[in-house]
Symmetry: C2
Subunit: 253 residues, 2 copies
């Protein structure tokens, strides 16, 4: 059973002023004052294993998180077990904001790889809004960004063919991964199984496999070491008729 909620609070390895993410060109710089507040906002770090459930639908978590490293996905289930993956999360993304604002979580979050999370307390969100309007604005911005990604995913599932959808999804994830600073010298290894892709795109596993094979045959992607690798990013975007992500600088909390 891989779904167990294995987790352990580690000692703090990354004080906010030595945040490994903030120096990246994708992220906006902090005001000194904001950095100070976030340092007190951060309550610790949480390490979770691959396959661990970080947050579970129906719960009322006292925490929200920023991903320091690793990948995760958000999903919902129907009563009979059908699963829909809603989106993926990677370094710099907030996890659990919906639950913090509105009370109960209405989706679950599972780690796709070992992860390191910054832990924040929901309770202090009000203080953040009261004293740090810039950060408050950033949080709304990030919520809007998530909304935008969901809009695009809806368009994809609703109106693109299986081949287009798959091309879109791989291009989308790899764009985001690059935006999160995950590009090694070569292209990114996306740590997902074909079942994840199927559950994201609303397809069956069998048909997903056959569709991925077409992308491989066209030399658009490769499937290696239990993960996906992009070979021809522009080819994927063309096939999916996708414009790509705006590459604006974004906030990090």
């Amino acid at each position: 059973m891989s779904g167990q909620s294995a987790r352990s609070v580690t000692t703090r390895q990354y004080p906010c002023d030595k945040c490994p993410l903030r120096p990246l060109p994708t992220f906006r710089a902090f005001e000194k004052q904001e950095l100070l507040f976030v340092s007190t906002f951060k309550k610790g770090e949480l390490a979770v294993d691959r396959g661990a459930t970080v947050l579970v639908e129906g719960s009322h978590s006292a925490h929200l998180y920023t991903i320091l490293s690793g990948w995760a996905f958000r999903y919902k289930l129907l009563p009979d077990g059908r699963r829909q993956i809603l989106n993926y999360s990677m370094p710099g993304d907030l996890i659990g904001l919906q639950g913090s604002l509105m009370g109960e979580m209405q989706h679950s979050v599972e780690a796709l790889s070992p992860m390191l999370l910054c832990v924040f307390e929901r309770e202090q969100l009000h203080e953040l809004y009261r004293n740090h309007p810039g950060l408050a604005y950033d949080i709304t911005w990030m919520a809007s960004r998530e909304e935008r990604m969901l809009d695009e995913n809806l368009l994809s599932i609703g109106r693109r063919t299986a081949l287009e959808r798959t091309a879109y999804l791989v291009a989308f994830i790899s764009s985001r991964a690059r935006g999160a600073g995950l590009n090694g010298k070569t292209s990114v290894q996306i740590p997902i199984t074909q079942q994840h892709i199927a559950d994201t795109l609303g397809l069956s596993l069998v048909h997903t496999n056959k569709t991925i094979r077409k992308l491989i045959d066209r030399k658009l992607i490769a499937w290696r070491d239990g993960g996906c690798e992009v070979i021809d990013h522009d080819g994927l975007k063309d096939l999916a008729r996708w414009e790509g992500l705006g590459e604006e600088r974004r906030p990090l909390i």
Copy 2:
């Protein structure tokens, strides 16, 4: 051509202290100070016709809106014209927040009925965040609410059958309509065509029609006067395996 951007600024009929929506039990009350600010935040009212395009993908609008009355829908298009409806909007909902926060609109908004909108200026959002943390929190809350609806819609399109999807959509819209105070003595008339439903659910028009017929035959809904009416709300929810909306009180700006 019904897509023209017909619009006209009317004189202000509803000062914020006489807002027809706020007294409704669905909405949270304002602090006196918040009411004052929103009164200055509101720049006027905009009346649009049915079929008018309120906001268009790719534009940089200087405004955002709250719906005073009427219905609208958000949608995206693929280059070849395929349309995906993302969500519906009704009284009390914000329109154009994404665009205000992030610059460019990445979806369009079209009126489903004549509408009356409160007009706000994007520029003043920063002032709102600086001086009214409570309202800032409310805005984030509303963005999260939209995100939640999108999550549910994704689950629906990705993993529910055509019949379940249709049942879900109708139940969902009518729940929201009731939450927006649109329930007359009888049930709500939802002012949409079957083409809208098809474009929301990722189905063809023909199949949507046949699916709707099944719901009618089962006496779950009725189709009258070019609109949809719910007859058996619980029946729809059961069929869709849908839990329903949390009926929490929500903010209004």
